[in-house]
């Protein structure tokens, strides 16, 4: 039995029925990381000793017949912008190269309380700014599907770690598509939950009104298992959703039982000039699968969708410019050696420690919040956000889910778009509006085009995670025979 190829649910079952010990499972994954990560570069830090210790504790619990949490013995990787006591949290930046958080993020506490094993921290675009993982201070991550390709980003390390069988589950963060796009590029399931479903406490923010912590898994059930362990109200996060929802993730139903009667909308606005022409035919095949499973699929209109990316860009960079201000070299993080005044300390530390993309976004965000013309963009973006939310609200009155491709372009080669930040930003064209509206969405594998993996985005209304999970479970089954 090749342990690292098992799904999370399989690992859990085998641990519970004592076919495998947690220590065996963790060791197998640590070995796998040892073997392959030099080629993939998915991890920034490995938690070897702590992970083994945690595994022993789980085995001890099993021995004593104690109750086990839902993640018992499952190795889990965390994106390196989720703070952890005892392991550094770098955010993929020189600024936090040696930063040790004195506290654990809420999601870390929740994983530990469910007996999950945190095995390490994954590579990412610096401070989650990027969509290819090429903007990490710790070097780019490669796509395990094909190491010439980027894994997507900014949660590219988490996606690559799962795809390379280094872990069965990983957490990422998604502000404009940073879980869904790498999930699509690495041929995985990725879920960005509704804004507020998972606590942001202890997650280094990119843009506070858009950020969501979400999950990667090899299949829908695994992803749902992971999500259900971290979802829930947190009094430390003022934007946390106060109600709880029971997520469905049990297998066993026929695909048609999940999908039958589902009303699905396809926005007619998705085939913009920037979108890869091959995707249209592919989407038609996807639609046929849903229809064959008993769904009714109709064309809908989201008239403001085309402004989504620009709106996202202005709001996100504005929030980023403010969020990045605390990294001033004074209390923690990189401090320049040379300075002769407080202002110089700030300037030199930040100049030395931030990469180009971070600087670019701080500059743009600062402009958008400044008095004068820049401010006009920000005020307009806030209004446009409301219109986009209204579009979705209208659509979800009549439809259960909305489908789009996850990314308008297919996975590209490493280094190819390095100096084209705008083209790379474009990959968020279908994902960013979802964050603007606080909705939930999943990217699920839907076959290949010319050998490149394609992701389908399933969008659900706020806190209707079960709709996208059901659709995902049904589609996954329907895809068994290919597309």
């Amino acid at each position: 039995m090749d342990i690292v190829k098992l799904s999370a649910l399989e690992i859990r079952e085998k641990i519970l029925n004592k076919e495998l010990s947690a220590t065996q499972v963790v060791k197998a994954h640590l070995d796998r990381i040892d073997e392959i990560d030099k080629d993939i570069n998915a991890f920034i830090s490995i938690n070897k000793e702590e992970a083994l210790k945690a595994a022993e504790q789980v085995d001890e619990k099993i021995k004593n017949g104690e109750d086990l949490g839902s993640l018992a013995g499952i190795p889990i990787a965390l994106k390196d912008n989720i703070v952890t006591r005892g392991t550094k949290t770098t955010c993929g930046s020189k600024m936090l190269e040696d930063f040790m958080s004195p506290y654990d993020a809420r999601v870390v506490e929740m994983i530990k309380s469910q007996d999950g094993i945190i095995i390490g921290k994954t590579n990412m675009d610096e401070f989650a700014m990027g969509s290819s993982n090429e903007r990490s201070y710790f070097g780019p991550t490669k796509n395990p599907v094909n190491t010439k390709l980027v894994p997507g980003g900014s949660s590219g390390g988490s996606a690559a770690a799962v795809k390379a069988n280094e872990v069965p589950l990983a957490l990422g963060t998604d502000t404009g598509g940073s879980i869904r796009q790498p999930a699509a590029y690495c041929d995985l399931v990725g879920i960005k939950p509704s804004y507020g479903l998972v606590s942001r406490y202890g997650v280094v923010p990119l843009a506070n009104t858009l950020d969501a912590v979400g999950v990667f898994g090899k299949n829908v059930t695994d992803a749902a298992l992971m999500l259900s362990a971290i979802a829930g109200y947190d009094e430390k996060d003022s934007t946390s959703y106060e109600n709880s929802i029971d997520l469905v993730f049990e297998k066993g139903l026929e695909p048609i039982e999940y999908i039958k009667g589902m009303k699905i909308g396809i926005p007619k606005e998705i085939y913009l000039d920037e979108v890869d022409k091959r995707l249209k035919d592919h989407m038609d095949k996807v639609i046929k699968i849903f229809e064959s499973l008993g769904a009714s699929v109709e064309e809908i209109s989201l008239p403001h969708l085309k402004y989504g990316l620009a709106t996202y860009h202005v709001i996100a960079t504005a929030e980023i410019s403010s969020n990045m201000a605390r990294f001033d070299g004074l209390r923690y993080g990189h401090r320049a050696k040379e300075y002769s005044s407080l202002d110089e300390l700030y300037t030199n530390s930040r100049t030395e420690a931030f990469g180009d993309e971070v600087k670019r976004r701080i500059l743009m965000g600062t402009y958008y919040l400044s008095m004068g013309h820049g401010r006009d963009y920000y005020e307009k973006a806030l209004k446009m956000r409301t219109l986009i939310i209204d579009d979705f609200n209208k659509a979800f009155k009549d439809y259960d889910i909305i489908l789009t491709p996850t990314s308008p372009i297919l996975p590209f080669e490493l280094g190819k778009l390095k100096d084209e930040p705008l083209t790379k930003d474009l990959t968020g064209i279908f994902t960013a509006p979802v964050n603007l509206a606080g909705l939930c969405a999943m990217s699920i594998p839907c076959g290949y085009i010319d050998g490149l993996p394609v992701g389908l985005q399933i969008i659900g209304d706020r806190f209707k995670e079960n709709n996208i999970i059901k659709a995902g479970l049904g589609f996954e089954g329907g895809m068994k025979n290919g597309i």
Partner: protein, 476 residues
Amino acid sequence: MAYKTLIGLEIHVELATKTKMFCGCANSFGGEANTHCCPVCLGLPGSLPVINKTAVEYAIKAGIAFNCKINTKTKMDRKNYYYADLVKGYQISQDDIPLCEDGYIEIELENGTKKINLQRIHIEEDTGKLTHTMEGDTLIDYNRSGVPLIEIVSKPDMNTPEEARLFLEKLRSTLKYIEVSDVKMEEGSLRCDININVVDTESGAKTNITEIKNLNSFRGAVKAMEYEEERHIQLLKEGKNTVRETRRWDEVKNETITMREKGGAEDYRYAVDGDLAPIEISQTWIEEIRSNLPELPHDKKERFIKEYDLSEYDAGVLTASKELASFFEETIKYIDDTKLVSNWIMGDVLRRLKDEEIEIEDSKITPKALGQLISLVKSGKINNNTGKKVLREVFETGKDPEVIVKEKGLIQISDESQILEIVERVLSENQQSIVDYKNGKDRALGFLVGQVMKASRGKANPQLVNKMILDLIDKM
């Protein structure tokens, strides 16, 4: 030439909540540096603020006490700037929708009441505190970081430094009344910035607004305003203008000194803080806060005038501080004579407090002791002068007046037979004074009474002594 001074004040008040504005750390003055801190008030990566409901309640209390409109839908914004005492690179504050708006504070002037309008009261978090050492280092203490503040902004409705002083006094006593802050300027729980300029009412010429910071006392604030008023007028006289700038008050040199010039308007790039949900305040909650508000200074004063038959002036003095007012109301439970109690408090008690530079709540005298003392005087057991001496001793030792009187044998002698001998001796030794008195010099009588009082070591009943001397002289 006639000049009109325009003064507006911006006052920061630390709210006396148990915990800080956005985390559970203790909100207490002092303490070892950087010990009341957590990831939230240190602004560590990933930490999130959660608003302190009591701080909002206190701010609403202040808003109601100062006659403001309370905005039921508001939000917290980020004020972006860099400084070493600011942990996040932004301060969580309020921009375009303050919690409270459009209030006023009334001050009492000789020619009546004047309304000073308030523009707004908003809530925000305090910053850490920097200490510059002699060696040239700067130390940072983040214990104060995240302490809840309200910022009260007045309109430029004050026209003299004295009006500003009265405004500050009223503001401070009201905040103390409603128990939202200990308002100690020396500990920094009340901080005041001044905006001042002067208009030449004939030519219409006016100076640029000067902002004054670094004021540590009301007295310093008044001096700074007087200094600036004069400086502005002088410049107007010379046909010049002030520079738009921030100055600080130098207590040693007794002058204001340029801190920095103000270029264009400062741009704080305000934006809503997405980490905090919008704030919605129900009308029910506002009404609940309003109905639980203690009696405010103005209402108390009106009640004192009506209920205790006091003059407007006396009622005003007695209600200036909540503690003094309650001291008065406690005292009259022991001696049912409001005017007498008022006279004693307004006179000797306040004088002693002023001499010792303390507040009534910090003194050793209790309402029970004062009541006892006044009873002793009123019943004639001790005379007025003895009463004053006993009061001094109560202030010093905190002993019961009755105990003091007994220990020192200060009971007034009202028995004629005991005083007669002294009176006769004094008269026989001061023949000239008797002659003087008979020749119409009234002062001579006072001298004779004084001699008798002295010989009785202050214990004789002065009215009785007076009467006895007159009787004896008549018989001569």
